[in-house]
Subunit: 134 residues, 6 copies
Amino acid sequence: MSQIHVTRRYRFCAAHRLHTDQLSPEENWTAFGKCNNPNGHGHNYVVLVTVTSGVGQDACNLDRLDQVVCEKIVERFDHQDLNGDPALTALTTTGENIVKLIWEILKPELSQGRLHKVGVIETRDNYFEYAGAN
Amino acid sequence: MSQIHVTRRYRFCAAHRLHTDQLSPEENWTAFGKCNNPNGHGHNYVVLVTVTSGVGQDACNLDRLDQVVCEKIVERFDHQDLNGDPALTALTTTGENIVKLIWEILKPELSQGRLHKVGVIETRDNYFEYAGAN
Amino acid sequence: MSQIHVTRRYRFCAAHRLHTDQLSPEENWTAFGKCNNPNGHGHNYVVLVTVTSGVGQDACNLDRLDQVVCEKIVERFDHQDLNGDPALTALTTTGENIVKLIWEILKPELSQGRLHKVGVIETRDNYFEYAGAN
Amino acid sequence: MSQIHVTRRYRFCAAHRLHTDQLSPEENWTAFGKCNNPNGHGHNYVVLVTVTSGVGQDACNLDRLDQVVCEKIVERFDHQDLNGDPALTALTTTGENIVKLIWEILKPELSQGRLHKVGVIETRDNYFEYAGAN
Amino acid sequence: MSQIHVTRRYRFCAAHRLHTDQLSPEENWTAFGKCNNPNGHGHNYVVLVTVTSGVGQDACNLDRLDQVVCEKIVERFDHQDLNGDPALTALTTTGENIVKLIWEILKPELSQGRLHKVGVIETRDNYFEYAGAN
Amino acid sequence: MSQIHVTRRYRFCAAHRLHTDQLSPEENWTAFGKCNNPNGHGHNYVVLVTVTSGVGQDACNLDRLDQVVCEKIVERFDHQDLNGDPALTALTTTGENIVKLIWEILKPELSQGRLHKVGVIETRDNYFEYAGAN
């Protein structure tokens, strides 16, 4: 079946540091380079949330989507240190883990099958995308 | 089979107003908020047309594509009020309806299977995409 | 004296039509072309407000700036037909008139000498800038 | 199975000319227009390389990807005339042929199944994308 | 006196090569690096033309500006090799020489004092700007 | 005298926190809001360095400029916490202070009068610019 998709853009600014306790300091440096610098650095993250939509009654309610994403994603991560987030403390704060976490947070908040994919732009040259099971 | 896709970018500037005669004034306001303001507002719409292409004889003729899109889409919608378009008078001029209409206009103008998807950027933060049956 | 300048970006979506009652319909068409189409069209306007700033006590209060621009500019023009704005009814809604009007609205709202220049992006290829007397 | 994809952006500046020895000068002009001008022209090409990634051990090594793309693509094409490239001398240097060539160069350099798709932005309004067999 | 400025964006795609006959091949390489590669490379050039404008009768006629820039700049340089341009054969085709040449071509075509500045974007990271005597 | 200016774009990703020891915690929060969050946040900073240039012998050596900016600015701030920088520990890491610091670092590294202005993009909507005494 043909579907219409709508993508909405959101943003948050956050600090992070690539580091895992499972590696020694030297191994962390080898794995992550300058992204492992002790005091962290940061990014202007862009989050692209794509939902299925339709015409008339099947259109996605974008006000509701904005409310969910702002409350669950933007307010949680904006102007924070991602390494301190409860869901990420045991994980390295790579783009892969961040985009997957955002999918997992948003999915139960939206109607069944509504969430189509999530994208995260970390820097001008780095983009992460994830579409989990529906 | 692997395929090459080419996306061409087009633009039109248009006025519109989200409104449906099936709802009362109050219901229209509840549904569409400021997008329902009586005198309308407008956007710099970007249209992204993606076609299947190939190498050599199978390449899509982009001059022909430009001619079709300019004649059927840009000339029709540019510097117009979308609510006055014959195909949209009975519909709300949402991004969903606009992207679907553009697909339906372009599909019969191109060779069988050539049209792959259509995207419409309405504002910096709003993107609509549609791929109908082929 | 060397000065630091800060530029903040704002947006509004609005309809407009280039037209003046001082010209006949034919003259309006000659002067403004498709921008004179009777039902109007619209744009995603970007407004760039540049203020002088400094370090420490001399820094511009950006929260205050945001409040002023949102209240006086964005709320006034967003999702409206510019031709219906009281300050523009007697004027053609060209980029020149819009950027000058925004300067004149903002200037008395900010401290003496704070406003440095105002820019308006009307379309991808059209940018207007004005710096009035201080 | 759900997968995470990472897209990295690379660039090269190159000259090219659309021309094929299989056509007469007149036919070349008919087919390619000003892109057939004898001394060539050029572009700031952007290359978007999308790979499958994962979390933890399944993450794609982006340093390795950068090394491969810089060595095999950027160093080969940057500040060159594409028509003189050995793989393109017998081909017209269309976006279709370039994006397909980049896929074919990168595929054997990466682990089985790692390369997901390749995109090439030729101009602001022209984008080519290819995902070959894996 | 306060003035309004309008900036219009134009584009051309061209090949070029940094090289001067006044230097030996080795010196050319030392001076220009890979930009001296024998067969040239190319760019998507963006040209930003800024003119003084005003309100009412003092507004700049943008149709006339478009006509001048398209005829004198875009048609001359688009899909060409800049090193073959008569005005540049004796000069190195640096951004500095190109932006200055565009100023000198446009100035006599516009009313006295109308041309305010010219900008040239050569690559994402390189921007040249010139405002000659008026 | 007319001058040509060249602007080069650089980037660094860094963490920071708006905070001054001269204010109480409550006053810091009032002054800086969420930018005062204890663990800091971060940005993808863009630095635009504009130098005077000319033609022939008067052209600015961009390789030398790149070397200076990379060594003195990018290597110093990239993937760091700005609050830990020696020149900023006694200052709040506002855009104003950062753009002024970059000017002061670069000025003595370049020939007399070469540095024209420095710009810093902190977020999509925030731009700081400074031109000190020459």
